[in-house]
């Protein structure tokens, strides 16, 4: 059973409260902090009052615990089955870890049980030993806050040397690729698959604050034919966005996209055809218009 109280925020928070209460000198404030840090915003009205009142008789009146051990729970079969499924994923080789014994555990799913049918076919080589070594080195550089020296193949096929401060790794399921997020230097992103060599850089001045990536506003007018409303709302759902119904029965969708992804967003809007029209900003309208002008000149009959 996936929707179970065993995995609930309340059970986890109560475990933290009891762990805290077992520490000598724990105060009510310490217990309150557990609720504030681990539970939902309204849980403060329930969890500690229920423990204090004896409705959940796990604490005594002086807030000392009735229990004698730090609360723990073994992993459930569901958790082990999921972990077994993950252990069979090719991307798992990127992580230099050994799994707990999962002998005799049936995977929750195998790669034969699902397809990501619209994923691009030129994903990163997750099982390539150089790629794995680069991934692990970048991961450790991020964790230790160290700069790295990279040799990469750029878009024109030339080799270039870069020095970056990696700050994170971004994965796209659609592209099936990792990008290194970096601060400092000229490159905000480096495709991990383009890295030819990679080493921790010797000198390590403190990394500069990463620049915020620029967001741009886009307003779309949606005509709900052929289920476009739902398709568009779902398709653009990973953006920060807001929808509004107009008096004429059509819908406005306002979203914020990353400027560096503008070409991709243009293509995605085009894919909806005439039922999604760009209203604003004017330069985005021009980008769509330019493509339509070029299309008209293709002589398609």
């Amino acid at each position: 059973m996936l929707f179970s109280e065993l995995y609930s925020v309340y059970y986890n928070t109560v475990a933290k409260i009891i762990t805290s209460a077992l520490s000598p000198g724990a105060t009510e404030k310490d217990l309150q902090r557990c609720v504030a840090e681990s539970a939902f915003s309204e849980s403060v009205l329930t969890i500690l009052p229920s423990l204090k009142s004896g409705k959940w008789p796990l604490l005594r009146e002086d807030l000392s615990p009735c229990l004698t051990h730090v609360p723990t729970m073994p992993p459930t079969t569901l958790q082990l089955r999921w972990l077994k499924a993950i252990s069979e994923d090719p991307r798992v080789k990127l992580f230099d870890v050994s799994f707990p014994s999962l002998d005799g555990v049936e995977p929750l799913f195998t790669r034969e049980d699902y397809r990501i049918y619209d994923q691009y076919s030129d994903g990163d080589p997750f099982e390539d030993s150089s790629y794995i070594a680069h991934f692990r080195l970048i991961l450790s550089a991020i964790r230790d806050g160290l700069p790295v020296q990279l040799t990469v193949t750029n878009r024109r096929g030339r080799q270039v040397r870069l020095r970056i401060f990696p700050t994170g790794l971004e994965y796209s399921l659609k592209d099936d690729k990792f990008r290194i997020l970096s601060s400092g230097g000229h490159f905000r992103y480096v495709n991990l698959g383009r890295v030819l060599s990679c080493e921790i850089s010797s000198s390590s001045p403190p990394p500069p604050e990463p620049q915020e990536e620029r967001l741009a506003d886009l307003t779309l007018l949606i005509t709900d034919e052929r289920n476009t409303l739902e398709r568009a709302m779902i398709h653009f759902s990973h953006f920060e966005r807001q929808a509004e119904r107009r008096e004429d029965g059509r819908y406005l969708l306002r979203l914020k996209y990353y400027e560096s992804d503008e070409t991709e967003v243009v293509i995605r809007v085009l894919s909806f055809g005439p039922t999604v029209r760009v209203l604003d900003p004017p330069h985005f309208v021009d980008l769509i218009r330019d493509r339509l002008i070029a299309q008209r000149n293709c002589g398609l009959k």
Partner: protein, 411 residues
């Protein structure tokens, strides 16, 4: 009944989350199928679970509630919170903690009467559990795999399952809890680990499938065991239909986050696809003896599937051909064509023209992709003329919408 931020049944909140996240323009009075109080309670719960992601706006029709998340800017799916809000009784919670406190290590093995006595003593009789209640809870925990039983003579002994240290897996769990199916299970494991730095972020990340995790996990269990299912399908109708199916494979879209089940509908003798967000209450039935044969037939059908529409007979596929102008310096377009195609092939016609050919069960599934090449399509040839004509009519409509004059060609 007094309001609680916890819930017993996930289905109702699943529907609200979908409405608030996918659409988010309805006002309170438009949720007419549910009572106003129910609406207020669900909105309040979501506010408590999701905090800043739940937003409000005032429109002429009233206040509307919507969920908005830039999923690239977050490290963890906020919708997982909803799956961690299951309600319980005071007895459930008390018994859980008392039981694992007594069975604090796998070497402690006790009988049911011994456990009753120990729990009573631990709680100083502030809450008393009889043998029947405890037996029921133990049976539940045995099925969850967290309590083990063994016979010692005529006595049945209970002990805890071995604990596992997952702390070395934190990076792996951070990644797969977002990037793998049923990732919420990884999130449950992460909840047991101390706070640590989040290194991974996700682009093109569709988080809404989280709310379908329970259905998906049940489907995977059935598929893995080659079992038939009975399931309620809400579709777009107001009342659900109950289906008897042999689930064969789950199809996940990386480009819109939708999840479909491809299943054999025995009564209709058809290979059908079902949106998983419309499915509810999966009941797992008997083993299907012909599962392997059906799976093999599906694999054959996949050669003609662009999306999620499948047929048993590839002879029913439609032919799709289109040609593109790609200048020599635009090899990135050619690379796009190669990496984005899901079936079919690309042929070079001359130095600046290429042809894509495929046989697919449903040409209309390909149309959005073909439109992404607008600005360079020189020829279309679909065996399904209705779809081809609609494509061209749509194109004319786009010219009109963006104010392109009637006369052509344009500079």
């Amino acid at each position: 009944m007094a309001y609680s931020e916890l819930i017993k049944n996930f289905e109702k909140i699943r529907a609200y989350m979908r409405e608030f996240y996918v659409y988010g323009f309805k006002s309170r009075v438009e949720y007419d199928s549910k009572s106003a109080r129910s609406y207020d309670d669900e909105r309040r719960r979501l506010d408590s679970w999701l905090g800043d992601y739940l937003r409000f706006t005032q429109t002429p029709h009233g206040k509307t509630v919507f969920l908005s998340v830039d999923s690239r800017a977050i490290h963890r799916n906020p919708f997982y919170s909803a799956l961690k809000a299951k309600s319980f009784t005071p007895g459930d919670l008390t018994l859980h903690f008392a039981l694992f406190d007594i069975l604090f290590t796998p070497s402690v093995k006790l009988t049911l009467p011994e456990l009753v006595d120990r729990i009573d003593s631990l709680l100083s009789s502030r809450l008393v559990f009889d043998e029947s209640t405890l037996r029921k809870k133990l049976r539940e925990y045995v099925s969850e795999g967290i309590i083990l039983t063994e016979k010692s003579g005529r006595r049945l002994l209970y002990s805890r399952a071995p604990d596992v240290d997952f702390s070395s897996l934190s990076d792996l769990l951070d990644f797969f809890s977002e990037a793998a199916p049923c990732g919420v299970v990884g999130s449950f494991l992460l909840d047991k680990l101390p706070p640590h730095r989040d290194i991974f972020s996700f682009k093109h990340h569709y988080i809404t499938s989280a709310i379908d995790s329970e259905v998906l996990a049940s489907l995977f269990s059935a598929i893995h065991e080659h079992r038939c299912i009975t399931v309620d399908n809400f579709g777009r109708r107001s009342s659900p239909t109950t289906l008897s199916l042999v689930p064969l494979r789950v199809y996940i879209s990386a480009q819109n986050g939708r999840q479909h089940l491809l299943a054999f509908h025995e009564k209709a003798n058809r290979l059908n696809s079902y949106r998983i967000d419309f499915l509810s209450s999966v009941r797992i039935g008997e083993v299907c003896e012909k599962f392997d044969a059906l799976r093999a037939a599906l694999e054959k059908a996949e050669t003609c599937m662009w999306g999620v529409i499948g047929r048993w007979n590839p002879k029913r596929a439609e032919h799709v051909e289109f040609e593109l102008r790609i200048d020599p310096e635009e090899d990135y377009v050619l690379r796009r064509l190669e990496r984005e195609k899901r079936c079919g092939r690309v042929e070079r016609i001359d130095e600046t023209h290429y042809r894509f050919l495929a046989d697919v069960f449903d040409t209309s599934e390909m149309i959005p992709w073909i439109r992404t090449f607008l600005c360079r399509i020189t020829r279309l040839n679909f065996s399904n003329r209705t779809v081809e004509n609609r494509f061209k009519a749509d194109l004319e409509e786009m010219y009109r919408l963006y104010g392109l004059p009637e006369s052509s060609p344009l500079a």
